[in-house]
């Protein structure tokens, strides 16, 4: 792992580590860490920083669905073109081109299940290249971005002092 790979590894673990802490953890100068983070952002390796939120624990209403999308391509329209049309909507939180039975996998979020349904039927389904959508409403989230939402596992139950 070189210095920048290590930085990415550390920021994935916790993007809120301060530059000072990262510098201490890696034995590098703060300036060097700052420069590398900027370089990673510049190069488009790091696209952004976000909190991983368990909406079920918050006061905010959120509903989400995983949506499978099938599309047809023609000479003028490629996957990127369709992706651009879909990615522009704030409701589309995640969009990936995948292998298998369908083409795109989208995660759609809105305030209520109704809003999600309406969004899919009114905004996504009518896109001419989209031939089929299958909407799976998310019932529960157990792990997101590598962070487990389940309680009661891996609690620190060690003795406070041991040899």
């Amino acid at each position: 792992m070189d210095d920048r790979e290590e930085l990415v590894d550390i920021l994935i673990e916790n993007a809120r580590y301060s530059t000072e802490e990262i510098a201490r953890m890696t034995g590098r100068s703060e300036d060097a860490v700052t420069a590398d983070i900027e370089a990673l952002e510049e190069a488009g390796v790091i696209k952004g920083y976000q909190a991983v939120v368990d909406w079920d624990e918050s006061t905010v209403e959120r509903a989400r669905a995983v949506v499978e999308l099938n599309v047809t391509l023609d000479r003028e329209t490629g996957y990127d073109d369709i992706a651009r049309r879909l990615a522009g909507y704030t409701e589309v939180r995640t969009l990936k081109l995948v292998s298998g039975d369908f083409d795109f996998l989208a995660v759609v979020e809105a305030e209520t299940i109704r809003d999600v349904s309406r969004f899919v039927s009114e905004r996504i389904a009518p896109v001419p290249e989209i031939t089929q959508t299958v909407t799976h409403f998310v019932m529960d989230t157990y792990k997101l971005q590598g962070i487990e939402f389940l309680d009661g596992y891996d609690d620190d139950d060690r003795l406070s002092i041991s040899p």
């Binding site: 290590e6 406070s160 002092i161 041991s162």
Partner: protein, 373 residues
């Protein structure tokens, strides 16, 4: 038994257990749980009904896997068939190695500060214990002059533990050669507890048994507790020539019969599929190590650069480390262990474990900083 004092950490344990909101840097085990495949393998073995004894020496596949692991990791070659003994924790392996080699005339040299069990276990085996102080000036490494000064030339056995608990010191090849020369010259057997070997951060761990003429006089002890985060599963092993493993196995077959079967299946999975998980934990420890060393440096607390295990061993800013540990616990609810618990050579120091999540570690270091300011 009257000569065996109760464990010196007991007192601090009782103090810490009484308090709320304690951040403990006094723990001798990983904060990680065992990797999921290890836990899954343990459960699966139970579901399959693998709840009987195994052979005394341990599952054949596990011994073969240990043999392959030691070969590819440290260049140590031991036959699974008769040179490897799977034990209930590395602790049992240490006990067996001592009991199998010690008689009433045996002197066991033990470098200090060190893990606090060797001394009482050697005494229980009937040996005379010769402490060999190591010094901060040497980075708490064992050196030939230190052995000489302590009169270890007359010892029959030497118990070493590097990477070291409590100091985090390691021995690199040149240091080991010096000790190996001393051991050969004075015909001293070596028990090398290498439980922290996989947690070496600056370079690769070297086993004393890999040096010329050392294999035949060395029992290497290791296990799954630290690197595989499996302390509670109690699984260790000893490797040595058959002439040393045989008597150890003879005691083991009467006292333990076999190591826990569930843990053996778990360990087998650990060796098969957890190299990446082990590397991830090691990386996390290394970052914390550097973080803690850097924070102590800024506080003006002297601390030599620990290079292994998950401990640093700073100098206590006050004269009485025991009192300091108690006051720190009372004032800031941070638990550390006074170094004197690990032998008189550890006095004036504190053992600080960094096997704790970064957030807790940051908070603990902030509290220590406030306390010493």
């Amino acid at each position: 038994m009257a000569d065996i004092p109760p464990s010196g950490i007991r007192r601090y344990f009782e103090l810490a257990e009484e308090m709320d909101d304690v951040i403990s840097l006094g723990v001798g085990e990983p904060d990680f749980s065992a990797p999921w495949p290890v836990r899954d393998a343990a459960v699966a073995s139970l579901e399959r009904g693998q709840t009987s004894y195994t052979t005394n020496r341990g599952l054949h596949e596990l011994r073969e896997a240990i043999s392959a692991y030691l070969d590819r990791t440290y260049g140590l070659t031991y036959r699974g068939e008769d040179e490897i003994l799977v034990t209930t924790g590395a602790s049992e392996a240490v006990d067996l190695a001592l009991r199998a080699t010690v008689d009433a005339n045996t002197t066991v040299a033990i470098p200090e500060p060190t893990y606090l069990s060797y001394r009482p276990v050697a005494m229980l085996a009937g040996a005379t214990v010769l402490p060999v102080p190591t010094h901060e000036a040497d980075g708490f490494r064992l050196t030939a002059p230190a052995l000489e000064d302590a009169g270890a030339a007359r010892a029959d056995l030497l118990v070493i533990c590097y990477p070291n608990n409590p100091t985090g010191a390691i021995l690199e090849a040149p240091h080991l050669r010096e000790i190996a020369d001393f051991a050969r010259e004075h015909d001293i057997g070596v028990i090398s507890d290498e439980i922290y070997a996989a947690l070496t951060y600056t370079g690769d761990h070297v086993s004393i048994a890999s040096l010329p003429g050392m294999r035949e006089r060395t029992v290497v002890v290791s296990g799954f507790s630290k690197a595989f985060a499996m302390t509670g599963l109690r699984l260790g092993y000893a490797v040595a020539p058959a002439s040393l493993i045989d008597p150890m196995n003879r005691i083991h077959q009467y006292t333990m019969l076999s190591a826990p079967t569930t843990a053996q299946y778990a360990a087998l999975e650990g060796l098969r599929s957890c190299e990446e998980a082990i590397a991830d934990m090691r990386r996390a420890y290394d970052r914390r190590r550097q973080f803690v060393l850097s924070r102590f440096a800024d506080m003006g607390i002297r601390c030599f650069e620990a290079q292994g295990a998950f401990y640093v061993f700073p100098e206590c800013p006050t004269d009485d480390a025991g009192q300091f540990a108690e006051s720190l616990l009372e004032a800031e609810q941070v638990a550390v262990v006074p170094g004197g618990v690990f032998g008189t050579a550890g006095e004036g120091h504190l053992r600080v474990t960094y096997a704790t999540g970064m957030e807790q570690l940051r908070e603990a270091m902030d509290r220590i900083e406030r306390f010493v300011a």
